[in-house]
């Protein structure tokens, strides 16, 4: 179940919150857990057992780990717990990728390929696996005590607002809130406003832009395509004019931000309605003046996870050689690229990001500083846009072909010759991506997101939110309603 679906917006959410607030406080966590399991089972029924078993195993392993005194055994149990989480992630997410490549290598060597049944990817596995890891490591590092109740731990892992697409909530950030939290009236309302902001980002911006991007670049997942469809996309990309290509890739850059940030806003909003304070996930990433800054602002909870649980264990910047330091940085980004998807294009994407981060440390940052704020924002944004080609187009040869078309300077009449809905939406997206470059923009954002509203602000926000919610419902359902006047026989 996704947040921007009828089943969630019109059935699950209203019923859930009605029951949740009617129930006594003590019963709320149990109900939230039950609803979260239903939420997950509805979207991925075949994986619910995997999820529950891995959560139970991890819970008891960590408790055992916490009790033992011997450092060796403690380390071993910690390793087993992490291996379960990461192992499942690796098996489900990278099993197909690994085997395909392994068989390709066998093929080059003239050997027969190994038999392998394709595995389906359980939704949200990248997120709840990482949360399990934070729990294990935070307990191991004695940052927090392990949870006493299985239900509490299970709730931490499967809580529906952040189960599917984050934010990745570290155990230490939320440990106290699971048992002790307060949902004030203002939280309930401001949570709803935040949820609606996220819904608008997703439905009114990302989906509108995404539809047009798909028209040009084909669907984002090439696995579902037949070879003929793939050939058609390749043909389209090979002959695309530069204007269309630029608009498409700019559009995708906005689409991915508003899609992901929208989802995070919805998750944060839902959490706040229940009294949870989830960490922020995006901080206006496109106003960054350097690539390093961009990664501090983009998918922050993931960046924090990589920093704390991969970069620091590798030695971070406190290593003997400069080369090692840059390798650590590059490697972290390579892994983060691979985390986004099990395909070579994501590896290239991660590697490129790593290279730009290293270049940042070496010279790019200084160069940007000399450029000044606005040009450096533009320059950084351009790098992000270009690297996004590898993110969006799943085949590296096609990504490269697309980049070549970007710089072919072929400005023939283009695909989006007249599409005011797309242009206006892109303008709106650009405005909201960059408006915090001004002090006023920052102030407005601060007021809308982070300050407590007074009576007047509540009334205004309420009216706007309800109107936006209704409008989103219309958009969500109108987009699937394109009827014919006659049967097409």
């Amino acid at each position: 179940m996704v947040f921007s679906s009828n089943i969630f917006l019109l059935y699950f959410m209203p019923v859930f919150f009605l029951v949740y607030f009617i129930l006594p406080r003590k019963a709320r966590n149990y109900f939230l857990l039950l609803a979260s399991l239903v939420f997950y089972a509805y979207g991925a029924p075949e994986f619910i057992i995997h999820l529950i078993v891995s959560v139970i195993a991890n819970f008891y392993l960590v408790r055992w780990m916490n009790k033992v005194e011997k450092p060796g055994l403690k380390k071993l149990l910690c390793g087993i717990s992490i291996a379960i989480s990461i192992g499942l992630l690796f098996y489900f997410k990278y099993g197909n990728f690994t085997m395909n490549n392994f068989n390709a290598v066998l093929g080059w060597m003239g050997a027969a390929p190994l038999k392998w049944t394709k595995i389906l990817l359980p939704i949200g596995i990248s997120f709840f696996s990482f949360q399990s890891v934070t729990y294990t490591l935070d307990t191991y590092r004695k940052v927090n005590e392990p949870m006493k109740r299985l239900s509490d731990y299970m709730l931490y892992i499967v809580m529906f607002p952040q189960l599917i697409a984050g934010p990745i909530v570290r155990y230490c950030d939320i440990a106290d809130q699971i048992r002790n939290r307060e949902s004030l009236y203002t939280d309930r309302l401001q949570g709803f406003y935040r949820f609606v902001i996220g819904l608008c980002k997703k439905v009114l911006i990302a989906d509108v832009i995404g539809f047009q991007v798909d028209q040009v670049l084909g669907p984002s997942n090439y696995d579902v395509l037949t070879s003929a469809q793939l050939a058609d996309i390749a043909n389209k990309i090979a002959t695309i004019d530069s204007t269309t290509a630029w608009i498409a890739i700019f559009a995708f850059t906005f689409q991915i931000y508003f899609d992901f940030a929208g989802y995070s806003d919805m998750a944060i909003g839902l959490g706040r309605m229940m009294g949870f304070k989830f960490p922020e996930n995006f901080d206006n990433p496109y106003v960054s003046t350097t690539i390093s800054e961009f990664w501090r602002r983009w998918h922050q909870t993931f960046s924090v996870f990589i920093k704390n649980y991969l970069y620091f264990p590798l030695g971070g910047s406190r290593v003997k050689t400069e080369a090692r330091k840059y390798f650590n940085l590059w490697f972290c980004f390579l892994i983060s690229g691979l985390w986004h998807g099990a395909a070579w294009n994501f590896v290239v994407y991660g590697a490129l990001q790593g290279i730009f981060i290293c270049a940042d440390k070496l010279f790019l940052k200084k160069f940007n500083e000399r450029l000044g704020k606005i040009p450096s924002v533009f320059f950084t944004f351009l790098i992000i846009v270009l690297t996004r080609c590898f993110f969006r187009i799943e085949r590296i040869d096609l990504s490269w072909m697309f980049i070549k078309r970007l710089f072919a300077f072929d400005f023939t009449p283009f695909h989006f010759s007249y599409n005011p809905h797309l242009y206006v939406t892109m303008l709106v997206a650009a405005f909201f991506s960059f408006f915090t470059l001004t002090k006023l923009g920052l102030k407005v954002q601060e007021k809308v997101y982070f300050t407590e509203y007074n009576k007047r602000q509540h009334i205004i926000a309420f009216v706007v939110s309800i109107a936006a919610f209704v409008f989103c419902l219309g958009a969500l359902n109108a987009s699937g309603f394109s009827p014919f006047i006659y049967f097409r026989f």
Binding site: M1, S5, N6, I7, L10, Y11, M13, P14, V15, F17, L18, Y42, G43, P45, E46, Y185, T186, R188, L189, F192, D232, T412, P413, S417, Y418, N419, P420, H421, V424, N454, K455, H458, I459, F462, S465, I466, F469, V470, F471, L473, G474, A475, N477, A478, S479, G480, F481, S482, P483, F484, I485, Y486, F487, F489
Partner: protein
């Protein structure tokens, strides 16, 4: 202050909850009624919860699809969103519609086709696409040649769609000249293959430049006044093909209609907006049909699209053609005057092709590439290939498809067989005997029987007897024609020998005869009594001509007799004349229509009566007529009516009863 703020927050939370719950409540309680959304969309099936369906995710998918169509406030929400995007961006969620400039709307497909910018399968640079069109033109030329051998004329035209006639209101700019349109290419091919066709586009363009009225309505996909132009052009070409004189249409002065009919703004309706668009008045022309003694009324089979309805709405095809049938989108077949219809898969193409005097095949531009072009292949196969050979070939093709598909996907033989038939219709050249440029020499052996059927249909009396039989035995007249032609071919006893009149057909027959007399009396000054006498004489003769031994039939005949008399009053006749002029039909037809209605009405009233009652009713009726004709009797009745202060009807009934009783004694 804090308390007041808390109260407001609680109110807002309650309001939020109420609004978020509103769709769920509305879905279950149905508190409001909303205007339904317009357009066809395959409805999502209701999800059924089962373990397998849930685990496989099908239940969830179906639930989402189903709820999308059934949640509360769906209609106003979609209309509201569409209205906003229409007002702000001139787009809506309906990709089928292209929103042009100045409030003009187009079908996206036709707009794309105009600019030669269809999907890849429409790409005219593709040699396969061009070859496909050439082969269609070749098939049509063969069909035309064969039909000519049997005295049937084939006429084809491409509908001049709105994008071609009014490109200036399209929103887009041309994409480039790397592709080109199929329509001119296909027209060229028809020319080079000698297929009779009309290119209406230049003619429409020329008229559009000189007239101040739009040939197409800005908010609809079909033609407005353009339909008249098309009919006129079509009739002229048909005359030329058949070397005969058809009825012609004459247009009066245009008049405007403020209230736009729903069908004319079909594209606007499909936008599903919250508020109606601003409309300019639509102009219509009154149409008069011009006929003379040489005018012939052929039978025509139309094969095409909904544009047909827009022609028949403006011009009375009943008065132009003796019989006309319509095959709509290869899906539904509408028999004469659209009174009956049945799915096209039951249609016998060969019969339809040969039984009509003309076959008119039309389609719009985009249909050149899809199922709109099934006709040439289907027609050619039905004319040249026997049913057995078709079955045998389809089976062979199905086998090869099955073998080819079996390896990749799960296929069943039924589906393969259907696919084989479709494939053969698209590619009749799969039959060796239909290949090449020359006209195939083979013929469907059923042709002989169908030509006999055509003869039967042309014979008025024979046809009448079969129709009567069909009516009486509740059979389909089409089937009877078929059986009779079979009987002729096989030297079997004929159905018409066994046919007898039903009261209904008898009445038809009587009216036919009587109306000639009535028409004569209308052309010369006559008194009401004279008209009545003429009608009565005719009826009397006809009744005497047929010996009735069945009382009920007699009663019915007399009831009809009474109906005719009723209708033959001068007042009624002038009404009928007025109707005939309004409907552009002959007085004879108008009279017939009214009389049939009366007859049917009387028949229905009498259906529940037993025979004795009917006899009594007839008797009473005849007495009353005599009473009314007798001046002295009527004066006496009127006197009683005044004296006793009773309704006239009661007095008359009493008198009738008294006469009946006394007569018996």
């Amino acid at each position: 202050m804090r308390k007041q703020c808390k109260g407001i927050l609680i109110t807002l939370i309650c309001l939020t909850a109420l609004l978020v719950f509103a769709p769920l409540l509305e879905q279950n309680l149905k508190l409001f009624t909303f205007k339904k959304l317009v357009g066809y969309k395959k409805p999502a099936p209701k999800p059924v919860l089962s373990y397998d369906a849930f685990v496989s995710g099908k239940f969830q998918q179906r639930s989402e699809n189903y709820l999308k169509e059934h949640f509360g406030f769906r209609e106003p929400l979609i209309r509201m969103y569409n209205q906003c995007t229409y007002d702000w961006f001139k787009t809506t969620s309906n990709n089928e519609i292209h929103i042009g400039r100045d409030g003009w709307l187009y079908h996206t497909e036709s707009a794309l086709q105009y600019y030669g910018n269809m999907e890849s399968w429409f790409d005219m640079t593709n040699s396969q696409v061009r070859e496909n069109l050439i082969s269609k033109a070749r098939d049509l030329s063969k069909v035309n040649a064969i039909l000519q051998q049997y005295g049937v004329h084939l006429l084809t035209f491409t509908l001049p769609t709105k994008s071609y006639i009014y490109p200036e209101h399209l929103r887009w700019q041309p994409i480039g000249d790397t592709t080109f349109n199929a329509t001119p290419f296909f027209e060229q091919q028809l020319d080079s293959h000698g297929v009779p066709h009309i290119n209406m586009v230049p003619w429409f363009k020329q008229v559009q430049d000189t007239t101040r009225f739009d040939l197409f309505y800005s908010k609809g996909s079909h033609w407005a006044a353009g339909a008249l132009l098309a009919v006129d052009t079509m009739l002229k070409y048909m005359e030329q093909l058949g070397d005969c004189s058809l009825a012609r249409i004459q247009l009066g002065s245009p008049y405007s209609i403020e209230e736009i009919p729903n069908n004319d703004k079909d594209l606007e309706n499909l936008l599903n907006l919250a508020a109606p668009l601003k409309h300019e008045p639509i102009f219509e022309y009154p149409v008069r049909l011009l006929t003379n003694e040489q005018t012939v009324y052929p039978t025509v089979w139309f094969v095409g699209t909904s544009f047909y309805w827009y022609m028949t709405r403006r011009v009375n095809f009943d008065a132009l053609f003796r019989d006309r049938d319509f095959l709509f989108y290869y899906a539904m077949f509408y028999t004469d005057s659209e009174q009956k219809s049945f799915p096209a898969d039951r249609l016998d193409y060969l019969r339809e092709l040969l039984l009509h005097d003309y076959v008119v095949f039309f389609r719009d531009g985009p249909q050149l590439y899809n199922d709109g072009m099934l006709f040439p292949g289907k027609a050619l196969i039905s004319l040249c290939i026997s049913d057995e050979r078709l079955k045998e070939k389809a089976s062979a093709v199905a086998d090869s498809l099955y073998c080819a598909w079996k390896a990749t996907t799960h296929q069943d033989s039924v589906r393969c067989n259907n696919q084989a038939h479709i494939l053969l219709q698209h590619h009749p050249e799969l039959f060796e005997e239909l290949r090449g440029e020359s006209i195939p020499s083979c013929r469907n052996p059923r042709i002989g029987q169908i030509l006999v059927e055509k003869e039967i249909r042309a014979d008025r009396n024979w046809s009448f007897l079969l129709k009567a039989m069909a009516e009486n035995d509740s059979l389909k007249v089409r089937e009877l024609y078929k059986m009779e032609s079979y009987n002729v071919m096989n030297h079997q006893p004929l159905l018409c020998d066994k046919a007898y009149f039903t009261t209904y057909d008898y009445f038809d027959f009587l009216v036919d005869e009587a109306s000639v007399e009535i028409q004569r009396s209308l052309s010369a000054p006559a008194t009401e009594a004279e008209i009545f006498q003429q009608v009565m004489d005719t009826l009397q003769t006809k009744i005497q001509q047929h010996a009735y031994d069945d009382d009920t039939l007699m009663i019915m005949a007399c009831t009809m007799d009474a109906t005719v008399v009723q209708l033959s009053t001068k007042g009624n006749l002038s009404e009928i004349e007025k109707k005939a002029s309004n409907w552009h039909i002959s007085i004879d037809k108008a009279f017939r229509k009214d009389a049939l209605w009366c007859c049917q009405h009387n028949k229905n009233k009498m259906r529940n009566l037993n025979e004795a009652t009917l006899v009594k009713a007839l008797d009473s009726y005849q007495i009353e007529r005599r009473l009314r004709q007798n001046k002295a009797s009527m004066e006496s009745i009127m006197q009683k009516h005044r004296e006793m202060n009773l309704p006239l009807r009661i007095i008359i009934n009493r008198d009738i009863e008294w006469i009946r009783q006394n007569r018996k004694q």
